[in-house]
Amino acid sequence: MSEPVTFRLLLTVLAAMLAIPAQAGPEEDREAFRAFFFKRFPDVPPDAYADGIYALDENARRQWEEIEEFPPYEFAVEQGEALFSQAFANGGRYADCFENDGIAVRQNYPRFDPQRGEVVTLELALNHCRTANGEEPYAYDSSELIALSAWMAWTSRGRKIAVSVPNDPRALAAYEEGKRFYYSKRGQLNFACSDCHVTSAGSWVRADHLSASLGHPTHFPVYRSKLGKMISLHSRIYGCIRDVRARPFPEQSVEYRNLEYFLTYMSNGLPANGPGARK
């Protein structure tokens, strides 16, 4: 190696050592998150991650495409549209509670609500809308709430997920909480979400093929053929947490809302494609 090259190398190394590391924030996290999967699965086009395990499993994908020809969530979308357009007893409407009359806004949820100082998911926003109009809130596992969410997801198909962490320390704290939850080992089996959906994405756990977390929240609610019904994202997460033999939190707990905030931010830029169909 010639002298000038060695010298330049030394300078570069010195410069690198002195450089102040870039402030790691949500955007840096997201880039690293995506880059991990793009490197692991170089043949999978970025947008395909919105299809969950079907991005990684050719055989399962073909079966899924057949199911999608007669979408099992269609009924929920129709029910949701009907419910959404019904006026409340006081004459108010769901449309009044959302930007753009609630059409094509799903991709912006969950969002940090500065008034409430917390993360508001779409399901929570729907219930807030009901109580503000003098109606009882729906149970989070009720078919009505899931249908409303399915309809709103449907109107957002093809929009890019666009969750923001505004410049508010409480928003960043909520994001960081969700991130910590995601990477923490829990339960008797001692698994973190990332163990299965990052480190081991693409591997098999007995007959289960593990999907990448990138794209996880793009397509909820989901019709699960195993259960024969539609379920919410939080109910899915509840299942994974129960499976690691940890104490699950209830749907819409602050823990799951913050987790959804982090998880959805990681999927920013992917197409919203809910509702979905899964095994």
């Binding site: 089996l189 698994f191 480190t199 081991s200 007995r206």
Partner: protein
């Protein structure tokens, strides 16, 4: 890291070498009591509500094994000392804090006796 494990020709070559060098060594005796212990070790390793080791490891004639962890074979060569094998199952996080392998003993998933039986069984593979 999480590169999925697959049986490769390297594993098979290693296995063959082992078989050739230890062919004469002789395996666990065929007396009924120790056969029964090996059989219960196998059951414990395979049962979903016990070790469920097949979730992550291929071994023996287990069906639909996962591939999160390496295949469990040639265990005597990998773990000449049974105590080290016991420790790996008791608490894999001691060796690798980020491991995906659950700490079976430390978290009370399996009892000492159950792990002991699994160790004996694995050593026979």
């Amino acid at each position: 890291m999480g590169i999925p494990y697959r049986l490769t020709s390297k594993h098979i070559a290693a296995g063959l070498a082992l078989v050739l060098t230890t062919a004469a060594a002789g395996q666990a005796g065929a007396d009924p009591a120790s056969e029964r212990r090996l059989e219960s070790g196998k059951q414990l390793a395979m049962a979903r509500d016990k070790g469920n080791c097949l979730a992550c490891h291929a071994f023996d004639d287990g069906e639909l094994p996962g591939n999160v962890g390496p295949p469990l074979m040639y265990m005597q060569q990998r773990f000449p000392d049974q105590a080290a094998l016991y420790d790996q199952i008791w608490d894999a996080t001691a060796r690798n804090p980020d491991t995906m392998m659950p700490p079976f003993g430390k978290h009370g998933i399996l009892t000492e006796e159950e792990i002991g039986l699994i160790v004996e069984y694995l050593h026979s593979l």
